[in-house]
Chain length 421, copies 4
């Protein structure tokens, strides 16, 4: 529990020995952060030790868990990740890899998984490929991660994406390329479009496409779809910066940093009191008056979720002297719940789900509000197919089976993607 | 992890709501203290939530765990406590109480258990009754604990001991005495004799016998068996104090506090460095020279385990001016491993197992060393039967089934008994 | 700030290098514990570095501080200890020792001081000798402490007490006995009698008299003065234990441990909430029913301050079945404020100052209450003269000069004496 | 000690009551960070309580301290800030404001000061005006700070700069504008030019000039002086971003974010091990390959100090596929020590002081290295006079008096400016 750099200090890292490791970083939402739900999960079962990290969400979690519990399994956590371990432990197969294949074959939904045993590291990506998963190399070592940026950190290099439905097996002490297995029935690829919009780091590359370049192109497309007569284009730093650069380039309006982001406030979201949390946005973003005073301003962000942050941003821009404020969002409105994502505010807190655009605009007190269209978003990404964009379109690749799960579903929201390294 | 008062501070206690609770305090031995092994264990399974605290050790742990793993169970901890939960989860019985009875019926060894579900609190004591377990009352609430002293703390009162083999069921919102079930084949009672000697708090009462009174009587019996011509009788505080009072009374030698115990050094045993740990005994015990100088001293302790502490105590007494030092131990030598106890030093570290009394005496550099006999110990307790004294006599109520387990067994040693409250 | 063992952990101790050191332990009372007031105080001035630890209280603190401030001195702390440093810094003398003598010559009240510079360690005890101060040796090293028990901890040995009014100078790298200077006009010795009664550790020796032996003799004298028809004598552990042993020996009533003290609750006094603090006494002391049930009980403590603890103790004894409870206190009632002591409850909280003995008895709900007389106390100590017993008798060696200080004065109370090592 | 948000958590803030407050944030350099040197310093002296925060460095610190010590003052810290307090305490003047004026009149060097007493808040800026100081208003409250950005955080507004040599007195409970006093002989203004280059936040305004605008103009001027044939201009985020925007605009080369800065690594500089610290730069900056691969890259930073970071940045750019790397620095080389600044690396660690530009270029392994000229820098700032640029030019407004201080001087380096709020 805590920041990676606090938990894994020098002394702790010194204690970690051995030829293999997996890890997981989780964006801690208020309620459910507890050591129980921390990943990786590591257990012992009939075949020895096994650990697993999971990025994604299962849609048939309740069915699987119910079936397992009826068979006598006990659950230590409330996370769906634990299902995989139980399914593996109960598999009648002799070999560990076969048990993993059998177990993951029963799961539905989004799962990029990394298993570690004493002899094997096994990566599995669900047949739809909702979440990214990449394989890299450093010297003689193999690495699997949800983000290519992590390879850069350790001077490794990207080899390729793990394919949707692929099972990749790295054996300890065995030279040569990892064994690739494709055990599942093929499905149409459905990469989460929000990875390009917000989740992934801009210095990552997903399926051959630079996240930074994609965001810049979305900004350019946004400029074509939602032009504004303005003096400057500014980003909401840092998430809106690439799109703002694209918007400015396309619109030929000068790009400026109209907000300065302070770097020592990463933890304001943990603050207990509402009054202090509201202070958080201010602490993080300082307006640059010389850029804003008397100007017509386009402010670019990647997405709107609750709307409270955007509301404050418009207010700060006006207080700093902006003549007009045009909010431009480099993605469509998020109106539909996500069944493959990350826990977030309930539906009633979501501004786009709450009414028509004009009402949102009015809440934001902006002079205008413009979203990128889904068509434009796909055009910016260079291909129409292969994405899950259910949060925008309502077009779900898989429906959850139980009605009861509906209200557990969440709309996609800003958060750190889980990392497997 | 940590001291109870540090973990359960006022803020944390405020957060704990609800009509029922169970807890567990564990003496943390060096190696295996980790949050994973902390109790109570709380999980979810087909019938809802269940939590359990366990005081004791199973002798057929490996058989049960192996069988469970072959059936697909996964283990998050290395503790035998987890077995009970798996057995309950896999039981075909419909009612929770029946599942608990079936599960505990498969276990062998020492177990005083307390289960908590949303509707029930269920206490189970193994058929031999190795570990104590008592039931008490406070207002309209029922309480179960391994020690009567905990009832005093909350102004509750002792009702009775849970009988060996008894299953006691407290139902939420149901008036009247808890339901008592005796589902197991009766076995001869075998209460751990070491509870009276060291484990239990002196202000506790076990099976109607005051621990303090028992220890004082052991001291008196020790004086009869192992007299010494001395000027003063002093205890090794605080564990040796009641026996020293008994020894002094019987021998009519004046009782004195020859050592002052310092109270702020409870945690020296966690210190990493050997040099600092050795310092620990000194920090804890300060000799009172006016009591010791030029005197023939009887020093009374409850038991000897490693011998290193006793060795240092003799040395301190001589340095403080004692003319002669007579070590008197209010229990027999502990020469046999315990299969129902607490993890402790390996056999080779145990002084009584290593040779004859004269050699031990010589290592301690004492003028004389005298142990209470097993006969005397039983006489002091007022009854011959109903005890497990295998650590003294080698007479084991249950043998562990696997040869491999032998070397895992431990000799009984000083430690805090687990508490269930 | 915190417990010694937490602050000076292995890693911190490793960092402390060098041939000399001084330290200080302070009983933290609620309000004024802050890093600012922590000792030793270490500063730089015209002659280099100097550090000081102080046990005691100045009676002319306000006069000295006022004069210093008028001369331009600034105060970082609210402690009187800082005065010594300012006086030294402002002294016109050339040599450090002469500056120390001049500075301490201006102070009035109780002060046992230890100074450390790069070349010198200088101990000073005030002319009345209110607080103890002892000098010891370990190998080639000299040690000065407020308690002989600290020499035992490091295998050092006591040489002698520092005399009232003595200045003892240890020079770095210089062989031979420390230089002794007696620069002040002699005064009648006035050792604080409460050191023998409560402050000092029982394993310490002050001016040749064992604290343990003194307390036991006070208990014996108490038995002669305040006999009781009882079945058992029990102490309030641990502070009342030596006196209870003396009472039992003299009265020939059996000594028992009627309370078991728990050792892991040293910090209850820091707990924020009143409700939890009250729980503190219970957590610390568990009654031994077998000793108490149906018995006439004499319970011996060293002193009564607030009376709240005694009140709870009587209640616990009755709840445990005692037939009658006779409270015996091995010191006279503390009715007068102390000007040379330790910050404590205000006058209105002091039970002895609040009324006649019968009223106190009634508040305590005891069957009888008996204090040792001052005469008896002095008889037990073996000499009539040489003590300050103003807290009992009102006979003050020095009166504070300013009226305003009166209400700042405090009645002597239980606390840990400051330690200089 | 620690991050502001950790030290001043909600609970601590709740405890701070009262109508006035001052604070101070210090960039913690390795050696001298200790609670003793933390600001504000708060003491008591003859006139009551006084606290002070100080941004700057005195050049006659040793003379003043020596004189004070000879007069009997003691120093608790090694900071020059403490001198002001001693001078005030020793002043013969009756009124606090007169004491402050007398005390600050004796100081030489850089000092922006904020004093707080129970009745007054007094701001003082040295006659050269080395460090900025601004006064603002929020409702009926007056605020003084070293940065205008702090007014934005609390919705206050900037009134004006405190003038060089001005003493500004805010009296408690007194309406109307603060009293302004100009007690010192006027001196030519010498604002630290590095405030515009690096120290100040870009969203601050100093003497009417926006820091952001100044940096952007320096970048534009740099493009004119040091053009490069390149495909992209990228900043070293975040400090180089405004200059890079200016460089890109002027050169008409596209601006891109070639590095993504990670926000959770603010504390890497505290890491103990060199190996981990080196990892720090990588953890902080991730290269965006799509922007860099095959490109001629201009990378813009505000200044170079040690050169080790720049060296790594060039290496990372090449590893990410840049065809050529042109380092452009929006300030002149820093070759001369600063006597008015912040403690930093010793001279031998400074890359610009170590040799000619070509050697630096070669160390950096860049294809070219270009610095902004001092002329260009001043042109970008819009006025030639009124600056201290001794670190570039060696033209010192005040020389330190003692030869010995020379080697204590430091070259200006990246750091957070002290904040007074």
């Amino acid at each position: 529990m805590g920041l990676v750099q606090d938990v894994f200090d020098a002394a702790t890292l010194d204690k970690l020995q051995g030829p293999a490791a997996i890890g997981h970083v989780r964006y801690s939402t208020a309620g459910d952060s507890s050591p129980r739900n921390a990943q990786p999960i590591a257990v012992e079962y009939a075949k020895g030790s096994i650990a697993v990290s999971h990025n994604g969400t299962l849609t048939n979690f309740h069915e699987i868990r119910g079936e397992l519990e009826r068979g006598g399994s006990i659950f230590e956590s409330s996370s769906d990740t634990e299902c995989f371990i139980h399914l593996i432990a109960r598999s009648p197969r002799a070999r560990v890899v076969d048990r993993i294949i059998e177990a993951t074959g029963k799961a539905q939904g989004a799962f990029s998984l990394l298993f570690l045993t004493e002899e094997l590291m096994v990566a599995v990506r669900d047949p739809f490929g909702f979440r990214p998963l990449v394989v890299g190399r450093r010297g003689m070592s193999w690495m699997v991660s949800s983000e290519t940026a992590s390879f850069d950190l350790v001077s490794g290099r990207l080899l390729r994406d793990v394919a949707p439905g692929e099972v990749l097996v790295v054996e300890r002490g065995r030279a040569g390329t990892p064994r690739s297995i494709l055990p599942f029935a093929p499905r149409p690829a459905r990469l989460c479009i929000f990875e390009y919009i917000y989740f992934a780091r801009p210095d990552s590359v997903i399926e051959g496409r630079s996240v930074y370049a994609a965001r810049k192109e979305m900004g350019a497309q946004l400029a074509r779809e939602q032009p504004a007569a303005a003096d400057v284009v500014i980003p909401v730093p840092d998430s809106g910066t690439p799109a703002a650069i694209g918007y400015a380039r396309e619109s030929r309006i000068p790009f400026e940093m109209g907000f300065i982001r302070s770097h020592y406030v990463g933890r304001t979201f943990i603050e207990p009191k509402q009054s202090i949390r509201h202070f958080g946005v201010k602490l993080k973003l300082g307006p640059v008056r010389s850029v804003l005073r008397g100007k017509d301003v386009v402010v670019v962000d990647d997405s709107i979720v609750r709307g409270t942050t955007s509301h404050k941003i418009v207010k700060m821009l006006r207080a700093a002297g902006a003549r007009s404020v045009h909010v431009r969002i480099a993605s469509p409105p998020t109106c539909h719940p996500c069944y493959y994502g990350i826990d977030t505010p309930t539906r009633s807190e979501l501004i786009a789900a709450s009414g028509r655009a004009c009402m949102v605009e009015s809440y934001l007190t902006a002079d205008s509000l413009g979203h990128l269209s889904l068509e434009g978003c796909l055009a910016a990404l260079g291909r129409r197919d292969g994405f899950c964009h259910a949060c925008f379109s309502g077009d779900y690749p898989i429906r959850p089976r139980r009605a009861g799960q509906e209200h557990r579903a969440r709309l996609i929201v800003k958060g750190l993607g889980g990392g497997l390294a």
